[in-house]
Symmetry: C2
Subunit: 237 residues, 2 copies
């Protein structure tokens, strides 16, 4: 029986156990939605980095690249863009390479690197991700980024959403957190925006006057695009 | 606004943050059910210990005490009782002091020690615990024992059950895991036995031929008894 495991934070993953598995990385507020939106709007590729210094080095060597990202939910000084999916319009990102500096999302992707394939998910593409996973025939590990080492509600809901869309999930051995995520999503799926508004990151964005970012990040299944992370770059699969 | 926080494992709790809060410790399979059953059946008190050596020292100084507990879900050699609530009948435990050696449950209780009051909960007494919590007027921290540092389904369901019974929970600021637990419980509450049977600990007990232990641990609200942990001993509140 194949396994389908969900981890509540990237810190709880043992990277050595990802060999020959498919990994899915989720950071709903807001990195994975920014990535999906950028690729939908024609960006060529996205290079995720953890450190601001690394982002500047890349930019200095490649002046045409766009610099995007955040520290403490806010745009980094001197960068072209923050971490709001609303900023990544076609006019701005079409045919561009984007350097995206997000500490948490980038670390979650790094953790996933030993996996055979790494996909990026959010609520927006959970059905498409589920369909893709069902075709792989491999063990699946869904990595929620979480927040400062704690589970986050919005990432857990997205993990549950993917499982709920895998019509064949009963053919997998789920771990406990997979059941927890599935049950939680099933309860809240009709009111995701308001539930995310109550979450730690939701309240933080509201305090910062960025509540408009939550709306696009809480929409379910509005795209078939599944980003793929390979050789330290993200492209449309 | 008061806070109501749930932690998925005892390892994720910062004990220093428990001062002047009420803590609730949950270890559904099986320590907290064994404790509740013992007290219901007339046990005078329960002394939880992490180490087998500590249990033997106490027993040697107090020969009338009963020795109960487990290692890897199984009875410890030389002990009177294992960790199945079914063993703790009135005939055996009435008016007795029980030394209970369970590594995980005992460590969860130790973690809670800086709290003002520490209650012990399971699905069996979640309504009674909820009523008690609502009267305290203090911040609440619910500590799921978890399994080897990972969230466990049955503990998370019990945490969700307590919140669902707190009619005033909207007066509290919930953390993300509290919402996750509440959502998960709401989805699974009509089929708790079968859901717990799918969990890591449920499958483990089934493999060991102890599936009969899961039934009493998955029953909701069949007692008003709320054990209290104080001065390293557990008594009926």
């Amino acid at each position: 029986m194949k396994t389908l495991q969900v981890f509540p934070t990237w810190q709880s993953v043992v990277p050595g156990e990802l060999h020959n598995k498919i990994a899915v990385v989720i950071d709903v507020l807001r990195a994975t939605n920014t990535i999906i939106t950028s690729l939908k709007n024609g960006a060529r590729e996205i290079i995720p980095v953890s450190e601001i210094e690394t982002a500047w080095e890349l930019k200095n060597n490649n002046p045409s690249y766009l610099l995007g990202g955040e520290r403490n939910s806010q745009k980094i000084s001197g960068f072209d863009l923050g971490n709001s999916p609303l900023e990544y319009t076609r006019q701005i990102v079409n045919e561009k390479t984007i350097i995206l500096a997000t500490s948490n999302g980038s670390k979650a992707l790094k953790t996933a690197e030993p996996a055979k394939d790494i996909f990026i998910a959010s609520l927006a593409n959970s059905k498409a991700v589920a369909h893709l996973l069902a075709t792989t025939g491999l063990d699946i590990t869904i990595i929620c980024a979480g927040t400062l080492g704690s589970p986050s509600l919005e990432d857990t809901l997205a993990a549950g959403s993917i499982i709920s869309e895998m019509k064949t999930f009963e053919q997998y051995q789920l771990n406990d957190y997979a059941y927890i995520a599935l049950g939680s999503f099933t309860s809240y799926k009709w009111d995701i925006f308001n539930v995310i508004l109550q979450s730690r990151n939701g309240r933080r964005l509201e305090e910062l006057g960025m509540v408009s970012d939550i709306k696009p990040c809480s929409l379910l299944n509005n795209t078939d695009l599944v980003p793929l992370y390979k050789h330290s770059k993200i492209t449309a699969n």
